[in-house]
């Protein structure tokens, strides 16, 4: 599906979607509210069928965290970058999509571990790589570890 068609098809699904220009792939910035419903629609819509979550990660900016979902349709072969912006860095929360794409269960755990984003509705919200008593979330830009991180 061409990029413009894809944008049209997605824009039909939910209001308030932004389509940033000059992106490498088709990109959608979705509002936090109703994000799960949008995901559900993206997955089940016959013209879209985004059934494969390639990767799910987060990017930490000084004043907000962006969750990035790379979606792919195994049947139709188009790719989409779905984003949502979490403005509250201190108590970052998002809705889980782990029941829609099963791999998200572990990718969300990773984001929780390294970025400190809590996913509501996730059944097993534990740290995945680090020990349970670890303090801080290492991939945040303001994370300090004077022993292990050597600045040069």
């Amino acid at each position: 599906m061409e990029r413009e068609q894809l944008k049209e098809a997605i824009a039909r699904l939910a209001p308030g979607l932004e389509f940033p220009e000059n992106a490498q792939l088709t990109e959608v910035l979705a509002p936090t509210a109703g994000f799960r419903d949008l995901c559900k629609a993206l997955r089940s819509d016959a013209a879209l069928q985004f059934d494969y979550l390639i990767s799910m990660t987060a990017v930490d900016y000084p004043d907000h965290i962006v969750l990035v979902y790379h979606l792919h349709s195994s049947a139709l072969g188009h790719t989409l970058v779905l984003k949502q912006k979490l403005t509250d860095r201190e108590k970052a929360e998002a809705d889980t999509v782990s029941d829609l794409w099963l791999t998200a269960e572990y990718q969300e755990r990773e984001v929780f571990d390294l970025f400190g984003v809590h996913f509501n509705g996730h059944q097993d919200m534990r740290r995945i790589f680090l020990e349970d008593h670890w303090v801080g979330h290492p991939l945040r830009k303001d994370y300090v570890d004077e022993i292990n991180i050597i600045e040069r």
Binding site: Q24, E27, I54, Y106, L114
Partner: protein
């Protein structure tokens, strides 16, 4: 799946479950993976994977390093497909800079990727045999893999962790003997690969051990993001080489090996078939490597323009995706590696249920896990 049941000292878990820890030190977890198993007799009732024993924070480290220096870290994720990992970062950087790499580089990268895939599948084959108790396979696989490693060593001086690519091309040109050696190897391995079938594939014990074990449906494979030969064993057409060709894959003819059974046997067959396909791909390219420069003209300091870049590459184990967020500096603002083993491994908690311990070993072997790739 609450945390309480994962207490190590409990001899008996909930509902009279017999809890054992497979790993982190265990011969068949292929690294430091810990699987917490709840058993009923020999039957596995629950698999809870615990990872992170060798988490090195490659993504965090990469945020402080210029792009050429990130490449040597990618070697250390999936060390058995180091060249493909290198390639992923290079391709992402090249597409960001809109550099057209010379044809020679594309050809060499494709040949090397396929050689690496062969080497990786050979190691998988021999380790898989060993998981199932056929110890001799291990030596045959390593014997043949050695030939590929020698080719690598002659061309770029290293056997496992190559860091041979740079954004824009290669570190240096391939060795003059490269083509001759690769052709010799192909001739040799075309004779040896049927031996693999004779020894293991046709064996009735082996077939009984792998058939119908660890059934993974296509829907689950897609939903779990199980890619690579493991996903293709379930009928998930996920070969990035085929669907989004990069390097010289659009110039070669090869089939995407698909099996629909989704069991350990299907995954095994896909990999053995891929070894044949890899040889087929190399044969098409090896005589036609164009002359030319081994690298495109690059600036001394590589700065990606601000933006986000996403590159998918097919490694020996599945789909590796690199996601780079650049703010225009010489270091990435954020780099994320979507590693194939991360998704491939967690599917064990689904398909491992109901197996016997021995089956769990078999299906773990068939997923071909490399643990550093999970932990990054």
């Amino acid at each position: 799946m609450s945390t309480e049941t994962s207490t190590l000292n409990l001899f008996i878990g909930e509902n009279d479950e017999y809890i054992i820890n497979m790993g982190p030190q265990h011969p068949s977890t292929h690294g430091v993976l810990r699987l917490e198993l709840a058993l009923k007799g020999e039957l596995v009732e629950r698999v809870v994977p615990h990872v992170g024993y060798i988490h090195r924070g490659i993504e965090k480290m990469s945020e402080k390093l210029p792009y050429p220096q990130i490449i040597h870290l990618t070697d250390r994720m999936d060390y058995l497909s180091a060249l493909m990992n290198n390639e992923a970062v290079c391709l992402a950087a090249e597409s960001a800079l809109q550099v057209e790499v010379p044809e020679r580089v594309k050809y060499v990268r494709t040949i090397l990727a396929e050689l690496q895939r062969l080497a990786s599948h050979q190691l998988w084959w021999c380790a898989f045999g060993m998981d199932l108790g056929a110890l001799t396979t291990f030596f045959y696989g390593l014997r043949d893999r050695e030939k590929i490693l020698d080719i690598f060593e002659e061309s770029f001086g290293s056997r496992l962790l190559h860091s041979y690519y740079l954004p824009g091309g290669l570190m240096h040109d391939i060795h003059p003997n490269f083509q001759k050696r690769v052709k010799e190897f192909l001739k040799y391995f075309r004779k040896k690969l049927p031996e693999y079938d004779q020894l293991l594939t046709g064996n009735v014990i082996f077939q009984n051990r792998v058939k119908g074990i660890g059934l993974l449906s296509k829907e689950d494979a897609i939903s779990y993001g199980v890619t690579g030969p493991s996903g293709r064993g379930s009928g998930f057409a996920c070969d990035v080489r085929k669907h989004q060709p990069y390097s010289a894959y659009d110039k070669v003819e090869f089939t995407e090996c698909l099996h629909t059974d989704g069991d350990t046997w299907a995954r095994y067959k896909v990999r053995v078939q891929e070894m044949w396909e890899s040889m087929h791909i190399i044969e098409q390219l090896i005589d036609n490597i164009p002359e030319g420069d081994y690298t495109a003209k690059m600036k001394a300091i590589i700065k990606l323009p601000a933006g986000e870049y996403f590159q998918r590459v097919e490694t020996a184990r599945g789909e590796l995706a690199v996601y780079i967020v650049s703010d225009g500096n010489k270091t990435p603002y954020r780099i994320h590696f979507r590693t194939p083993n991360f998704s491939n491994m967690f599917v064990m908690s689904k398909i491992g249920v109901g197996c016997k311990i021995a089956d769990l070993v078999a299906l773990g072997g068939s997923l071909d896990l490399v643990i550093p790739d999970i932990d990054r």
